[in-house]
């Protein structure tokens, strides 16, 4: 096998025509993909974007002639390098996968076998298909690790999946896909689960290696800014149909469809910051640790003014969620205290009165797990009304209706179970549950990070409106800088369990930055196809300068 692929750049590699895919649910088949075309040339990257349920992943898998369990490709043609995959037998298709077409999954952690070394898994397909002898494949894998800028490329392959970080694992999976030098790689949301600072590195190494070997790729994501860095062409999907299809620069500068514009709508919200000196919550020099492990919070102090939004930002492991747990009383701090309305809050949950619990409510990241799947919306929102306000019967139901309307849903939702709602609706119900308690402070823990852009915008606008109407105070925990810009008044930057800085939004987001804030801010992908190239160049120059 040569380093270069056999075909020339610009030859058509994959041609999918009129693809229709059915999914099975409720005892019948529904069309998930309704006649989509894809044309991909060698060396090109196609970005597939759309919200969840748009059929991006299903379409990506169909490029390998594969349909997930419960799905079937009903019509259309998939011509890969002159072969019609629809007419190939399962064995023939299997022979192509992993050798000529490779797949990089979203969750690297869930896709590796925890019982085998990384390098064994990297070369497995290549060796078993007899493309390369094992020793050669291993040597090549180490070279790929180096190309992907993994630390200790010669020995990292001997580790097991749990011994490396998520970003590293995602790069190892890219090496695995590259091992057989496929003609086509399908990236299915490869960086969605990563922190922004890690995402930049992974994106850069993926892009480099795809260019190096002139591989064609389909890059699936819901983040337009990410796809702008990777793709030559972008296809926007919604409900299984193509909304818009254009060259990347053209798509970004002049999108034709309303829906395409709405995909980056979060970035269009802009809250005017307000200053306030009436401090509702004061976290005063707290330390905290989980039993039997090292300290996770070091001398954290945060001040939250009434009626404003304080965003706590940082990457995973920075202690931002732990700080929230300390405020709610789930994790009593080992030293320091928390003042609410000027009075010290008892450190433990048990020590707090119902009244104190009522005033601080929490909204979770995963609305799925934050609501009991066996309770109806009526039970979920009604419980705090009964519990805190003592409302029953008619009075409770009337208030329930008001709350449901407040979150822009209607009566028809009241007797549904969470499983019957979409992600955005679930999160709205969680907001209503928090509101039902009539709180003063709401802690929002990554409440929008599991949602699509367009739904995020709806949720953020709702939160802002509720804040104005009820003078609510928010602590907004997030790693997404676009969200922070959209809704915060003040920003707290956390890193490794310490507060790096706290201040008004305008102060924090304008230079000069402390080193970590700079890294965090510069890592947020921008809607500019040259952003990644520019950033890498700037960072390389910065590194040279410090040397």
């Amino acid at each position: 096998m040569s380093e270069k692929n056999s075909g020339e750049k610009g030859d058509i590699l994959l041609e999918m025509r009129d693809i229709v895919i059915d999914g099975y649910s409720d005892d019948r088949w529904h069309e998930i993909i309704k006649g989509v075309d894809i044309t991909l040339r060698r060396g090109e990257i196609l970005g597939l974007i759309g919200e969840s349920g748009a059929g991006k992943s299903t379409l990506g898998l169909a490029a390998m002639g594969y349909a997930r369990a419960g799905c079937r490709i009903t019509s259309g043609s998939i011509i890969f390098d002159g072969m019609d995959l629809m007419k190939k037998s399962a064995a023939e298709k299997r022979a192509l996968r992993g050798t000529r077409i490779a797949y990089v999954a979203q969750s690297a952690a869930a896709s590796f076998n925890p019982a085998h070394q990384l390098i064994e898994q990297t070369v497995e397909a290549t060796v078993r298909r007899g493309i390369k002898p094992e020793a050669e494949a291993r040597a090549d894998a180490r070279k790929l690790y180096r190309d992907l800028q993994l630390p200790n490329p010669d020995t990292i392959g001997e580790r097991y999946p749990h011994q490396v970080s998520g970003g590293q694992l995602q790069r190892v999976m890219t090496a695995m896909a590259m091992s057989a030098r496929p003609d086509l790689i399908i990236f299915d949301e490869p960086t969605t689960a990563l922190d922004v600072t890690t995402q930049v590195e992974v994106l850069a190494s993926m892009r480099r290696i795809v260019e190096q070997f002139n591989t064609a790729a389909i890059y699936i994501t819901h983040d337009l800014a990410v796809v702008a860095q990777m793709a030559d062409f972008i296809k926007v999907l919604r409900y299984g149909v193509t909304i818009e299809d254009a060259e990347t620069r053209k798509m970004l500068s002049s999108p034709e469809k309303e829906y395409t514009r709405s995909l980056w709508s979060v970035r269009s919200i802009d809250k005017k910051e307000e200053r306030s000196d009436d401090i509702i919550l004061k976290v005063d020099h707290i330390d905290a640790s989980y039993t039997g492990s090292a300290k996770v919070l070091h001398d954290v102090s945060i001040e939250v003014p009434r009626g404003s939004t304080v965003a706590i930002v940082g990457e995973s492991g920075s202690g931002k969620s732990t700080a929230a747990r300390a405020i709610t009383g789930l994790l009593p701090p080992s030293s320091g205290q928390i003042l609410f309305n000027g009075k010290a809050l008892p450190p433990t949950l048990k020590g707090r009165s119902v009244d104190q619990l009522q005033k601080i409510q929490m909204i979770y990241q995963m609305a799925d797990t934050a609501m009991n799947p066996r309770h109806t919306v009526r039970d979920i929102i009604g419980r705090p009304l009964e519990f805190y306000l003592g409302l029953h019967g008619r009075a409770r139901d009337d208030r329930l209706m008001e709350l449901v309307e407040m979150i822009e849903l209607n009566e028809s939702f009241i007797d549904r179970y969470p499983g019957e709602l979409s992600g955005g609706q679930k999160q709205r119900i969680c907001i209503a549950r928090a509101l039902a308690a009539d709180p003063e402070l709401i802690i929002c823990d990554e409440v929008t990070s599991a949602l699509d852009q367009i739904v995020q915008k709806g949720i953020l606008e709702l939160l802002l409106r509720l804040q104005r109407e009820f003078n609510l105070t928010y602590i907004f925990i997030t790693h997404d800088i676009a969200t922070v810009k959209a809704i915060s008044d003040q920003i707290v930057v956390m890193f490794q369990g310490r507060v790096v800085e706290q201040g008004m939004k305008s102060e924090i987001l304008s230079p000069p930055f402390p080193e970590y804030t700079e890294l965090l801010l510069s890592s947020v992908p921008e809607m500019d196809p040259d952003w990644l190239t520019g950033l890498l160049k700037a960072r390389a120059e910065g590194a040279r300068a410090t040397n």
Binding site: Y239, L330, L349, V455
Partner: protein, 317 residues
């Protein structure tokens, strides 16, 4: 991941390029099935073994409920002829005291099955309650105390332990129910604790604790509904074991006491007839009838439990 499918409205193409509205997000919502529709759907897809099991169980239940109407004679009605052969008058003959075997078989359904059912229910209330409590208190002192006590109880062979306790406290129905229920609740405790541990870590349980809910609410409203499927399946299995244990104890003479009709003791009382098989085959079958009743019910319940476990495990085939 199934909920992805729910988001796709059937006429998605027309909606594709419209603005955003929270209420319309799900699009067309399917009407929820009623309980009866769900049961009917389940039955339609049930394998033949499960249908067989359900039929058998229903017949047992009918006999148990309507025993006085269905039995030709009273439960303890004594006729002058003991060990009467099978005839028009006494379908399955009479036993050593001259009681009609068929009537006692029918009343036996009520007694044996009823007592086993009540015992299993108690075992689940005790074991399930403590198991979930232990899971909420995960690794705290209460969890450790309960778990270790259960280990101790489980280390003793249960049939022998039951025999000892019954001879200590006296063999009456109440003691029987309590002793078997306590011994069997150890198994229920284990499974309830194990399945609850997966639920206790969910955010909604944390949300309930943050709200300030009491332990009982969390146990009963937040956790219990989410662990019902495995518990119901386990209920079927445990019921079989309890049922067999009671039959075994009755056979040994310390279970359900005469004159209450019970299948285990009926086997014992008429067991001697087996040796006359070469002279009167039907008479020799008399002890086999209650034994067969026990076996058939056990098999039927197991068929249903297998089907239920398969359904709740979410495996497709």
């Amino acid at each position: 991941m199934n909920d992805k499918d729910d988001i796709i409205p059937s006429e998605g193409a027309e909606l594709a390029d419209q603005g955003y509205s929270a209420a319309a997000e799900v699009g067309v919502i399917k009407a929820r099935r009623t309980f009866a529709q769900n049961v009917w759907r389940g039955l339609k897809s049930a394998p033949p073994t499960a249908l067989f099991g359900l039929t058998v169980i229903s017949i047992y239940v009918i006999f148990a409920v309507f025993a006085p109407l269905l039995a030709p004679y009273g439960e303890a009605e004594i006729f002058p002829m003991s060990y009467a052969p099978w005839s028009e008058e006494f379908r399955f003959g009479t036993d050593q005291l001259g009681r009609d075997v068929m009537s006692r078989l029918i009343y036996g359904a009520r007694n044996t099955v009823g007592i086993a059912f009540v015992t299993t229910l108690f075992a689940f209330i005790i074991g399930g309650g403590l198991g979930i409590t232990a899971a909420i208190n995960n690794n705290g002192w209460l969890d450790n105390l309960l778990s270790r006590s259960v280990d101790v109880l489980m280390a003793i062979p249960s049939l022998i332990f039951a025999l000892i306790l019954l001879s200590m406290f006296g063999a009456n129905t109440l003691n029987l129910i309590i002793i078997i229920a306590v011994l069997d609740s150890t198994r229920v405790f284990r499974i309830a604790r194990a399945v609850s541990l997966n639920v206790v870590v969910m955010d909604y349980v944390e949300a309930a604790r943050l709200r300030g809910e009491k332990m009982f609410w969390i146990l009963y409203r937040e956790i219990l509904p989410n662990i019902m499927p495995p518990l119901v399946a386990e209920f079927g299995l445990r019921f079989c074991f309890v049922f067999l244990t009671i039959a075994a104890l009755s056979f040994l003479g310390v279970g359900i006491q005469p004159p209450t009709a019970d299948w285990g003791s009926m086997v014992r009382e008429t067991a001697g007839l087996i040796q006359f098989a070469e002279y009167d085959f039907t008479a020799a079958m008399t002890p086999m009838l209650p034994a067969a009743a026990i076996a058939l019910l056990t098999v039927a319940v197991n068929f249903v439990v297998d089907w239920f476990l398969h359904k709740s495990s979410g495996l497709k085939d």
